[in-house]
Each structure stands twice: as structure tokens, then as C-alpha cells.
Symmetry: C2
Subunit: 710 residues, 2 copies
Amino acid sequence: MQRTSLPFVLLTVLGACQSAPRLAGDITDTKLVTWTRLARGVHVATLGDLRNETRYSDLAAAPPRLDSLNARVDTGLADALARVRYSIDADGRIAVRIPTETGERIHGYGLQFDKTMHSRRILELKVDHFNKGGGKTHAPVPFFVSSRGYGVLFDTARYLKVHNEIGNRKDSTRNPEEVDRNPPPDEKQAGPWLARPPADAIEASVRARGLALVGFSGTDMLDVVARYNLFSGGGAMPPLWGLGFWHRTPAKYDAAQTERELAEFDRYDIPIDVIGLEPGWQTKSYPCTFEWQPKRFPSPGTFVGRLLDQGVRTNLWVNPYVSKHAPIHDALYPLSGSHMVWLGIVPDYTLPEARAILLEQHQRAHLDIGVSGYKVDEVDGYDHWLWPDHATFPSGTSAETMRQSYGMHMQNMLMSGLFQKNDRRTYSLVRATNGACSAYPFVIYSDSYGHDQYVTGLSSASFAGVLWCPEIRSAGSEREWINRMHTVCLSPLAQLNAWASGTKPWSYPNATDAVRRMIQLRMQLLPYLYTAFARYHLDGIPPIRSLLLDPDTHVMREDNSMFLFGPDILVAPFLDEQTERVVRLPSGDDWYDFHTGRLAGNGATMTIKAEHTGDMPPMFVRDGALIPMLSRKINRTRDAREMPIEVRHYGRREGSCELYEDDTETFAYTRGVYRMWEIECRDGALYPSLRKADGPSYYGAMTLREMTAR
Amino acid sequence: MQRTSLPFVLLTVLGACQSAPRLAGDITDTKLVTWTRLARGVHVATLGDLRNETRYSDLAAAPPRLDSLNARVDTGLADALARVRYSIDADGRIAVRIPTETGERIHGYGLQFDKTMHSRRILELKVDHFNKGGGKTHAPVPFFVSSRGYGVLFDTARYLKVHNEIGNRKDSTRNPEEVDRNPPPDEKQAGPWLARPPADAIEASVRARGLALVGFSGTDMLDVVARYNLFSGGGAMPPLWGLGFWHRTPAKYDAAQTERELAEFDRYDIPIDVIGLEPGWQTKSYPCTFEWQPKRFPSPGTFVGRLLDQGVRTNLWVNPYVSKHAPIHDALYPLSGSHMVWLGIVPDYTLPEARAILLEQHQRAHLDIGVSGYKVDEVDGYDHWLWPDHATFPSGTSAETMRQSYGMHMQNMLMSGLFQKNDRRTYSLVRATNGACSAYPFVIYSDSYGHDQYVTGLSSASFAGVLWCPEIRSAGSEREWINRMHTVCLSPLAQLNAWASGTKPWSYPNATDAVRRMIQLRMQLLPYLYTAFARYHLDGIPPIRSLLLDPDTHVMREDNSMFLFGPDILVAPFLDEQTERVVRLPSGDDWYDFHTGRLAGNGATMTIKAEHTGDMPPMFVRDGALIPMLSRKINRTRDAREMPIEVRHYGRREGSCELYEDDTETFAYTRGVYRMWEIECRDGALYPSLRKADGPSYYGAMTLREMTAR
């Protein structure tokens, strides 16, 4: 859905001028930013001339959820935001300065694989291959959140250079004292010489005529992230089947091979909900035709239908670069940019006529026969794969803006032009995204990572409204296969991507039982996970997130070897080939072992061994938490329908949880057609109450299972 | 000397329009560049509005040597240049497209440490720390030379992004055929699928209102490079002492320690001409005061004078960032940029009043007491050390332009405001330079490299008018120490930089004899090397250069394990800890062993062992070449005065060489006050003739030494 542009420019002109007294650290040769209130804790500002700029928020999947925002605490305008200054120089560069305080921690800036904390660091936020580093990544969301409870979205599709407390202005009153690096022997210095003397601000700049800012003022970091997600249209809501297990077949598989592989899943009793076809399903690929290759898929409708009959969806790999052999090539040629990618033309999908051509083809060749979604590849980088910065596009959109937003244009087009139009939810994959993308049910995937990067990616994505799928491709050993599968099955999209390796869940025979148990656990956790997604949609709370985004645990320092899966499960996966690891539980609450229900500790440091978890990942549940799960194992999500719910209760406290139900497949939920249970557990009994009952029921009856002996 | 700006804009308007027929590979939505002839084989063009842009050529040390250029063959305008097209887009980006042909090789782009060949490669030419890669380096000279005999200087101080035959335009008529990456089993493809399909042009762009180009048309790559150097004012001419051996003492040494270390050189009979003082000579450093630290140097004039009495020059480390403890700080404060570097202010040396303040202080505190030059550090990067791109400067110069040109501004100021004013040549060091810098006697140095990077750096610098010093700091073994010293002593500036390690030439006792022999050889080669520099100055021929810049050897493929030292000596150094290596001699000429005079081969591949070279580097001399050398070993260059010259003759052919003489220290040579001998060797006798005799003689009598037995 192409979102109606908010009248930001007018709002700024009409809005009340914010001002703040000059404080230490403020500088003078810049102007104070004028903020305009959009909703509680959400303010917008425009600097310069935005007429030729693309705002990420204009490409969002849905307009800001003003209702949800205005139901939150009115936090006003954060002090830091009231002191934001900017300048526009003669060289066409707009710079913004956001004063920080000593000890303030800066998190976010999208999907990053080394850390989530970016204080004292320079980032170049540019869409690029994931391994470029320094801020270049396939989801370089220009949004940060501060430990002081505010955040800023730089809402313009440009390369953004951010100096996080690096680069001291000479007129700042809060610079450190100068220290002699080479003092004579008898001269004492105030402190050590620092190669990076800390600065007192975040300074960011773009080369553009205009820059839009959105400021978020919250009670804590999670509240700021939630408001950011609500501003972005609320979190994505996948269909239930999207949360099942995914398997991508090798690039050159045909229909028969694919169906045989699916049969193998059932033979091995391994759950599967989605089969992903890689490039070779098309007549030509790299660049693409988007048409079925008749030698491999002589009857695509029959093929997709046979999978659907078995409860399995088909997901199609594409990249956006159009082969001259594509029937739509000639029509798209004049609507494409000056440069090609892999000798395929690059359509300018800011043009409605270009969108119409692709959408008509996709509807006919894919949606009409039941295809469930796409994996939109290669919209991220490298420079030597994509168009150059001097490429031109017929709409006049700059190559830079196109690079930063191409992945979002693809999501926007497919979402509004296909899935919403067909009233059929998708859960899809895309290789690049950017600001204000929270409402897109498109998951970012990457090539292959170290296991620590898997977990850091899950954490960093949660600050940025990004869903990230570590996926699994292969492993160096059975142990690594098991451990990777653990993390994959506790991520937003549980996918085995065997396009090149041909690996299958049972490829490591001694690991197959453990892998099966893990995937089955993922399936049993569907009610819990789906409810977490509902909260993402309704309130902007990320379903899988960094521990730093859990105000209850008061964690201050990042530890990216752990993350939260839903509201109450802490995961501390075995990394690489570990069979044991040290876990430092947060202090404050008691935590209980997910698998056994036994007390694990409170602020405790312990060593967990795989032999004691039954080769399952270390998982801990908050004292008093209720975890709604399917009462039995299933191999397809459709089998969850009417299945009884087992509500597991952990620890000694009384507690509560929610359970969300809807039709699992259409957009009726956006019109309020869903149910939300609040379930309490008191004195060994469940007390479910329907807080909202505007949709059909989906699951069966609820039963309590006390996990912790009393 | 601030060069008078050439009236490029006017020339363009007045110049005759060049045009060329549309050929395969040309594209149409751009304009043809209009070139204006400046000299034979040198054409200039301006695109857009250059009023607010800084041209590198305006910062050159001297105006173009039109006399020398117009003495060369009139090559007209190369076909490739006649077909250069450009566009200026609405986003403020200027792009240039230079069509290339299949098999064309693109070299240059400044000091690069991985290779000199950049076809099928994207570079971001930005001044940055040497190890950033991808085109970022401390000498990212935006000049390339093509194997087809032309070259282009992008003569505007901006970050330049260059796509060398990467990025296919959709309207090009010379794109490769599209190939299916995933064909069905029975479908054959025209060829392999290529991840980087070759494009048919160099495309480069800047974000700026204007871009100046200088096109060079030559007979071969060396001719193009020579014309580039002549356009840039001719190659740098160091004083003779600059070509002796340099030693930098540890950062916190005082006068007594320094003098003791100098005495040790003499005790070990190791040549030395320059002592470099590192930061601690100042009252404060990092940022700097530029004033002598009285606790370490209580009487700097006496200290520098005592060194001079021993024939040793003093070179001072500085960085440009001014401490608040510097007496000139307050005067420079309003003339400095918005941001600091290591808490020191960054003077805007585009402002004459800022230059005057620094120069007055340097003249008084340094030049007046006999200081010979500087090592201007830290003008290169990283981003987290330098000012951000959004910093502002009082002159209105953009931070980007300042970043690209700060090292050149420093050279320009020191050269014109101190050394030329005092009629005293310098050989100095600087950590960053850029386009059109050939005439500056400032040598780039780097931190520490692999040995292969040493040699690649020497080769790549020679394409760009850059002098580079690999310097030596320490080594992992005696063998590595010897091998590194070999390469250092065959580079433009032979320096041991012991600022941190405190290493001395004799620190590896078993290597001392070999090290001494190598430094002594450097000293004996002074007449040959100094003459090579004279040719650099007069004709633009790089004194040390890639084999690819030797038209006589017809080498086509880069082999950066070898380089030319002067016109006739091929060096193939032992790398790392090698005690033997394979050498592939170029074919065409016979090559002779430098040390023994014996025939080595012609196009031969051989293994050379250190045990057979007497621990000297493998060096080869072209058949017939004459090498003028000092007849005896010396420990100071001043002892070369009136010393007899031994002219070594290698091989069987009759040959000739030149020998250059001047006063070795003043700028009189720029006014034609020098001697140039042409020396022929026929039938076992020397026939020297003075081709130019406008200066004093320097050396003593010449004698022939036949190196090759007949």
C-alpha cells in the first residue's frame, strides 16, 4: 500500500517552535531544529528542501499507528531532541548535531553484525553486502536509540554518515582536556593520551537538499523502539504458516526432485511448511524472466497445487534484474535505469507503469496458481554488482536514493500490488531494507556467518524494526549443525537454505534426532511466537530481541551471546561447536530452565552442558511466566487448528500471558478481526479471559502444566 | 610557490570543439567533452561550474613545463579522449565516461598497495589511512594511464568514485551476451556466467558543481606519465643530501641521546645524512606547538648546528593540529575549522593570513637555525582521526575538498613560504598527497607493510608522480632486516624510522655487515640516482618505476616483485625472509648481473640465491648500459664533492649514460644553472661530452670500469 504522504513540510511551517536554553556542549553556528508533534512521543522535523527527496516513511507498509501511539504515556519531547541543531552548507551538505551526555549509550543503526552499541564509532549507513562493515549492511536502518530514552530516524533515502561521539568541535564546552602524548619524564599528565577523544554529540550528515527527521521520546529503550515501530505502521504480522519450517531446494531442482524431497521430510518426520525454489525455476536467471522453466516445471499450477494440498507453500527466488528473454523486458526497457545488473535491466519501480507491468505478470504466473511469496535477492550490493552512483533512472530518482530504497520499493510493490490486493498474507524474504520497514513481513537473510554473528544479528535487528533470518546452509560438523539449527529455529524465520549445498535436515545422521526435536519445539511454540508477533503488530514490541530491550532485566551492557525469544524466554545458544557454555543470567528476576522447569538462578553465572539439556539450546523462563504451546507435535502449521493449548507455568510467582488468534492467512486482522486472550494462572488453575473477541477461535481448549515443582 | 591559475574556464569557452563519430560503446544521453589544447599531448576540459572547486593543479609546486612538453612528439588528442562524454545530473553529480577497448589495461590511481592494474575494478579515491583499501590511500591520485597511450587527470579535489570497466550501460552496443546461470541440463551457453561482466568504459563521478579534466595523449604509458609529470611542474628535485641515509630517533629522545646515536653511526661506519626528530622535540605534541621542548633541547640552534657541522641535517616531525599551548594557537583559532583533530585546531591554510602565522613561526624556530625539512604526519586519515565531512572551514572550502588537499596545502605552504623563499631545497616527508604533486620534494611514507606491498608501492607510485618511501622500522629476523633494508635503500628515500622500536642499523649483529654494504651501495649510486631525478625534473621520467613504464622491455603484465631503479637497473629484491627467489627477466634485451657483470639472461627465468649475491639484492643491468657511481665509499653525501666517478659498463653493446651536476642545495637549477654530461663508451674508452654547462662542476674525474668480461 503506497502510503499517503504526511504533510510534514506544512506541519513544520505551522508547528510551534521548540526551543531550549544553551547548555554545555551546545554550539552556536547552527540552527535549532523545529519539531512538530505527530503523536505522543513522536515528533517530526524537516530540514531544507525535501521536494526531491524520498522519505523511507513514505515507503512504509502502513501509516503510523497513531491510535497505539496515543495510547502510550505522553513523554513530550526528550531534552536531547529539544537541543538538536543543524546546518546546511554551501556544498549541499546537511549536518545534524544531537548532544549526548557522558555515559550515554547509542544502539541501533540497523542490522549490524559486530555489535549493537555504536558510541564512539563512525558508521556509513549504506545498503551494501552484509560483510562490508563500518555501517554498510543490507539493512542499514538510519535509526538509533539512546539509553537516555530517545531515538532519531533520519528519514531520507541517502547515504548517511554518522559520527557517534567522534569528532570534537572546537567550540564545544565539553571537550576533554588536551594531554601531551610525549611529555618530558618529570611532567605528569591529567590522564592517558586518547587516540579517540570522546566528543559530546552524535553528528550526522547527508549530501542532499533536504533531510527529514523523526524524533522518538520514550520511557526507556524498548519504549522508544516500540514507538519507532508504531510510527512505521506497527510490526509485521506473518501468516501462521510463515512461522513453520522452511526448506530451500538446490538451484537447479525440477518439480519431481522437489516433490521427492518433500516426501523425504515426511519420511524423516521433520516438519515443513514452505518449500523455496531457487533461480532455476525460471526460463533464464541472473538476470531473470520470472516465467516458469517448462523443462523443469512443465505444469507449475499443478505443482504448486500439489504442494498446497500437502499443506506446503511455495516461495520463489527472484532478483529484480530483467532478462532480455523475459516477455516483459521490452515494455520495461524504457522504464529502467541507465545501467544494468548482470546484464539485466533495472526497472524504476517508483513509476506506476513499471509496477503495473511486473505485478500483472507476477499475479498471472505466480499468485494465481498459489505461490505464497518471494525471496527478493541481490538488492543490496556490492558496488561491483549494483548500478553505480552516477546511474540515472527515468523518474529522476538518484542512483543513491534508489540504492538505499530499492529493497523497500520491491517490498512496497509486492505487498500492496499482490498480497494485499489478493487479501492473502505473505511471509517473504528480501535481501535489503531500510528505515521505517517494520510493518513489512519480509525477512532479511544473509550468506553465512559465524554463529556469534547469528546472535548479534538477531539482537541488532530488534533495534531497527528488522526481521532477520540467520538461515542455515551447512556446517563443519554434526555438533555445529545442531547448534546452528537451534539458533535458526529460535529466529523470526526458521530456514534451511540448501540452494548450493543440497544439505538436508537429516544430512548429519547422528544429529537428525536433535534437529527433529528442535524443529518440533519451534512448531509447538507457534501459539507463543504468533502472539509475540501480534504484540509486534499492535504495540511495536519486537518478538525476538536484545536483552537490552527488556526493561525488566535492567541489563546495561550488551551481551550478544543471548537474546529474548518472545516476552519471557531467554535463549543462550551453544555457539559454533560448543557442547557447554557459560551463561550469565540477568539479575532481578529468578529464571527457570525452559526444558525442566527447575530454578536456574538470578544474576547467576553457570556452565550449561548439552548433555544436560538433551541437545537442546539453553533456554530460561522468567519467574511466573506462562508459555502457551501446542499440546502435541505437528509437521504442518495447519495441524495447529483446534489443537489444545498447553499453558506452561514456570517458577513460583503467579503470572499471566496472552494468546492471540486470527484466521492466520488474510488481512482481516488489520480490520480488528482477531481474538486476544489474557490468561492468568492462580493457585494451580488457569483463568483465561477474552480481552478482544472479534474473530474466530483457532486453537482448542487450554490446559495448565506446572513446570516447576512446588 | 602558489601557482598562477591557468585560465581553464576561458580556454574551454574559446577552444575549438572536438568531436568524434559515434562508435560502438558510445552512449547518447550525455555530452561530448570539449577539450582545449594546452601543450603537445595535453588537453584540458572543464565540466560544469568550477568557481567553487579546488583544482589539484592549482596547488602544484610549479606551473606546467610547457617547454619540455612542446619538445615532445605532437601526439594530438588520443582517440579515447575525443570520445569522452559527461553528464551533470539534477542531484549535483558529474559523471564522465571514457570508452575503453577489449584488452586495454588501466594503471595508476595513485599509491596503491595491492596492484597497479585497475581494469574491472571500482575505486573510491579518497585520502585515507593506507590500509583502507579499495582506492583509499594517502596518495589517491586521480590519474590513470591506459595501455593504449593516453591518460586522464580528474583535476578537482573531491572524492572520486571510478568504475573501471565495471557497470554495463543498457544502451551500450558492446555489452557481453547474456548467459543463463542456471540452464536446464540440455541447454548450452555461449560461455561461463560472469559475476562481473566486463563493461566498455571507465566511468567516474563526483558530487560537485564542476569537474576539471586533463587529458594526456602519448606514444606509450611512460610517455603519458612523463607528460603528466611535466604538466604537474616536472618531477621533484631533491637536494643531494636527501638521497643519503636517514634515521629517525625514538619519539622522546633528547639532544644528548640524539648526538650519542649519531656518534654510534660513525663508530659502526654506517652512512647517515639526516636525523629525524619525532614528536617529543616539541613542548607539546599530538596536538603540536612547533616550539622546542627546552627540557630536551635546551639550545636547539646549537644542536642543529653541531649536526650540520658533521654534515647531518635535521628533519622535524610535525602534524598540523595546533595545541592550545602553542604561542600561535590564539591567532590561528579564528582561522581554523569547526572541528579539531586530537583536540588541536585545524588551521585553514587556504587563507594567506593563516599561512603567514605558521610560516613566521617555522622560519624563526626552525629554518633560521638550520632545520632542513619536515615530516608532516597525520594528514591522511582515518575518518575517526580527521575532521568529519560536515566540518566547516572559514574560507568556505568544503571538508571533503580540505581532506583531499590538506597534504598538498601543507606542501605548497612549506615549499613556497619557507624553502623557496630561503633558496634552500628540502627533501621532506608528508603523509598525504594528491593530484599534480609531482614537483614536490615530499616523500610519502607509511606505517609498516608486507614486503610485497613495499615493492608494489614503489611501482604504483611511479604511475602517479608520487615518491614513496617504504621505510624500515623493525623486522622479525636478521634475514628480514637485510631484505627490507635492500628495498629501502633502492627507494626514493632510504629511511630507518625507529620512532617507536628504537631499532638501529646494527641491532641485528649478524646482519650489520650486509646492512652497511647495502647503505654504502646506495651512497655510491648517488650520481646515477641524482641524474635519474634530474630526468624526472626535466622530462618527467620517474626515477624509480614499474617495469610496465619501460617501453624497451615490452612488459605487458604487472609483476610487482621487480622494479626499475633509474633507467637501467632492474631490481628483483628478496622478499620477506627469502634467501632465494625466482626472477623472470624481461625478454628483448640481455640483462647482466649488477654485482658481477656476468650475463644473467634474456627473457630467462632463474633462481637467485643470497649466498651468490653476497647478501645483496638481485640487480640486473641492461646490455650496454653505463652506471655512473662514486669511486669510493662515503658516509656523508658532502664527501661526494670532487670524488672521481667510476662509470661501470655492462654487457656487450656500446652504450651511453648521462651525469647531472649542480650545486646540490639551492634552487639555481630551476634557473638552468646545472651541467648535463652525455657519456659514451666505445671500444673500451669513455667519451664524455657536456651537453649543458651552465653550472659548476661537482664530481671529480671519470674512469671506465668494464664490468663484463669480453
